[in-house]
């Protein structure tokens, strides 16, 4: 009598377990990575540069710096989007790496979590770094790291396409003249401009130069200026100056569109310079114009070198040596050249421009750039950014008007 019932119970329990296991697979990402080695002579470094293999210059530089400080370096590279959660988990288990190289908008989040030491504690020298770059790593008057390199956005243009369309680059000074240029390009049978408006942080990053260029503030998304920036993009899509695919474009896919040679303009970053050389056509770089002329402030990209909190505070002394080595003038130059970044200090920037004149517009753009978490936005930036990219997507896909989309975004932030 009891046996079938019991078997049923067993079957129920097993099914329950199997089903829940299936369904939780996506939500329980509890991957643990041990960072701090037991050995006090081994120092761990985490970076978001998985493209650099063991025999790369970057890895060699780390080993050299370790050698000079008398320790062995254990390096682990993560995908950028993965690194924040990995660092949070490691900190939760008191397993943080000694040196953590981190995308700049994430610094304030990890600082808020209490994962990072301030420069007061770790005594890292930040005096040489440009203040506008350093600002992304500052909150409540404290500094949580030093930039290793910076990048930003500008407009790449295809000289051949512009020539065929009869557009003079020098005439592009503001939004109106840029839109006029796009119209000419379209009439000449070519494609206008490509950018990335994807529903992630990348989309917000690309929208910001236009948003800031309109005079809008991140604390007030649905201001008339903010709406004008979104309307600019929206009109480009409607008139066919920009392809509809921008809604799903990452910065990489957007670059691939530009590299096809059909597009006149592409909004993209410093890191594409090496690819631009390979594109097979003559290109130029133009700062992103503000709505009424002048250059728009673009958001700064690039990473910070940070020192996570350790249980054993005695480790900071050696860690400081490693950080100073990595951010020394000579090494910054080498690192930023391999990364295709602009250096964070004036001294190295001058050296970069002297070596490669093509970097000049980029150095200027970086100097005018602004950190996303600057202005003491800190951890409110991620919330604003998410609503902003949603609004951009809603407007460009035609789901809502720019006004409504931004009004909704602003009320969601509050």
């Amino acid at each position: 009598m009891t046996r079938p019932a019991r078997r049923r119970l067993t079957a129920t329990a097993l099914t329950v377990v199997a089903l829940t296991a299936g369904a939780t697979a996506c939500s329980s990402g509890d991957g643990t990575t041990t960072a701090t080695a037991e050995d006090s002579g081994t120092y761990t470094v985490w970076d978001p540069y998985p493209q650099f293999a063991k025999d790369s210059d970057w890895a060699k530089l780390l080993d050299d710096c370790g050698g000079k400080a008398g320790v062995t370096i254990k390096r682990t590279a993560f995908d950028t989007s993965d690194l924040t959660n990995k660092a949070l988990l490691a900190a939760q288990q008191d397993n943080s790496p000694d040196v953590l190289i981190l995308d700049n908008p994430v610094v304030s989040t990890l600082a808020e979590a209490g994962v990072l030491t301030t420069t007061d504690e770790n005594k890292v020298d930040t005096s040489k770094a440009d203040p506008n770059l350093l600002a992304a790593g500052q909150a409540d008057g404290r500094t949580y790291g030093t930039p290793i390199g910076a990048n930003t956005l500008a407009l790449y243009y295809n000289k051949d396409v512009l020539k065929a369309a009869g557009v003079d680059v020098a005439s592009i000074k503001d939004w109106a003249s840029l839109t006029a240029a796009l119209e000419k390009v379209k009439k000449a049978g070519k494609k206008g401009i490509t950018f990335s408006a994807i529903g992630t942080e990348e989309g917000s990053f690309q929208f910001l130069p236009w948003f800031w260029g309109s005079g809008a503030q991140l604390t007030d998304l649905d201001s008339a200026q903010g709406v004008s920036a979104l309307s600019l993009w929206n009109d480009w899509l409607k008139k066919g100056y920009a392809p509809n695919s921008v809604i799903n474009n990452t910065q990489t896919t957007s670059w691939q569109e530009f590299a096809s040679g059909d597009y006149a303009f592409a909004e993209n970053g410093t890191w594409q310079l090496a690819n631009a050389e390979k594109a097979g056509f003559d290109y130029g770089v133009l700062p992103i114009p503000a709505s009424d002329g002048g250059n728009a402030a673009a958001p700064t990209g690039g990473e910070f070198v940070t020192v996570p909190v350790q249980g054993d505070t005695g480790r900071y002394a050696t860690t400081r040596k490693l950080v100073s080595c990595l951010t020394s003038t000579e090494n910054l130059y080498a690192t930023d050249t391999t990364l295709s970044y602009v250096a964070p200090t004036a001294e190295v920037q001058d050296k970069q421009v002297a070596e490669n004149a093509g970097l000049k517009p980029w150095v200027e753009a970086v100097k005018a750039a602004k950190g996303r978490t600057s202005d003491d936005l800190g951890t409110t930036y991620p919330k604003i950014s998410e609503q902003m990219w949603k609004a951009v997507q809603s407007a460009l896909s035609g789901a809502e008007s720019p006004e409504d989309a931004l009004a909704k975004a602003q009320s969601a932030v509050k």
């Binding site: 829940t20 990402g29 924040t84 950014s385 896909s397």
Partner: protein
């Protein structure tokens, strides 16, 4: 795990050995027989495995959803217990309604089409014509490809400006469709891709189910004058019911939690038009620079409960079908 505690209870049942039938239970508990120890030893690995890899993560996920986690309290481990606050937050979110609708539509439409196409193909391949084995193997390809490959390929094919689908539509005079970038089409696009990926799974299970239907039944019905349509509805379909039930249940669990395809193709967008619970949960927990672990876990748990409900329905139906 309730089933692990059942072994000692089962002892009084007439076992094959019958060595200690009269012993009182108290004495037995004090000195377990070697057989009992062996039973526990056999049970231990799987019990440990289940506890470590299923029960604990599940417990953690429930715990995450009941606390107010900020990045700081996540690291310090001192998140205050807030009861069902995260669930309330999720239910009140304007994204909840659309996400629920999309999850239901996505799951239902995918299941119906995957099953119908899978069954049609299974019946077709059951006829053993030349090359049927080869063709059947080819149909498995979508299943064998890594999801990132198939999803990326679909998103290239469906690209508004340079996709092959729009190029083909253009060739026959139909204007371009913004498959992935229009709120009206994005859910349809991910459903199409997911059906394509899920058909082989249904095909394989249903095909093997067809093998177990005796050919004599078809012969007998053919002699009685039943046409192919009649044979399908009166023999194939009813006899395939147990296999169909498990195929649909597994399909349901897989489809409910589909994440990769949607994330790669549309990221749940544009404007949340293809957001399901799975992508929403991920977006809350990992899709932002500032993770919201609590609400993310709450959405994940809602998915778990949904899968659980259907699992129980399945068990109930199965019990009715085969009275013990």
């Amino acid at each position: 795990m309730s089933h692990t505690t059942q072994v000692p209870h089962r002892r009084p049942a007439p076992g094959p050995s019958g060595a200690v039938p009269a012993e009182p239970p108290r004495a037995r508990r004090r000195r377990p027989t070697s057989q009992q120890l062996a039973a526990w030893a056999f049970l231990a690995p799987v019990a440990l495995y289940l506890a470590l890899f299923y029960a604990y993560p599940l417990y953690r996920n429930v715990d995450l959803s009941l606390r107010d986690y900020t990045v700081r309290s996540f690291v310090q481990g001192d998140a205050p217990f807030t009861g069902l606050e995260n669930y309330r937050k999720v239910f009140d979110d304007p994204a909840f309604g659309p996400a629920l609708t999309h999850t239901i539509v996505f799951t239902a439409v995918c299941l119906v089409f995957q099953y119908a196409i899978g069954l049609a193909l299974a019946v077709f391949f059951n006829q053993h014509f030349r090359l049927s084995a080869t063709l059947r193997a080819l149909f498995l390809v979508p299943w064998l490809l890594p999801l990132i490959v198939s999803a990326s390929t679909w998103s290239w094919m469906l690209n508004s400006d340079s996709g092959i689908v729009n190029a083909l539509l253009g060739a026959v005079g139909i204007g371009p469709v913004n498959w992935l970038t229009s709120p009206d089409w994005s859910l349809t696009s991910v459903i199409i891709a997911n059906i394509w990926i899920g058909v082989p799974f249904n095909l394989v299970l249903l095909y093997s189910g067809l093998q177990s239907i005796p050919a004599s039944l078809y012969e007998a019905s053919a002699l009685d004058g039943a046409g192919p349509w009649r044979r399908f509805w009166s023999i194939t379909f009813p006899l395939l019911r147990p296999v169909s039930a498990i195929t649909l249940l597994l399909g349901l669990v897989y489809t409910l939690k589909v994440f990769d395809i949607i994330w790669i193709m549309t990221k749940g967008g544009p404007a949340d038009s293809s957001t399901t619970f799975a992508t929403w949960s991920y977006r809350l927990g990992f899709g932002n620079l500032l993770p919201a672990f609590g609400p993310g876990a709450a959405v994940g748990n809602l998915l778990v409960v949904a899968a659980l409900v259907f699992g129980l329905v399945y068990l109930r139906v199965q019990r009715k079908q085969a009275p013990a």
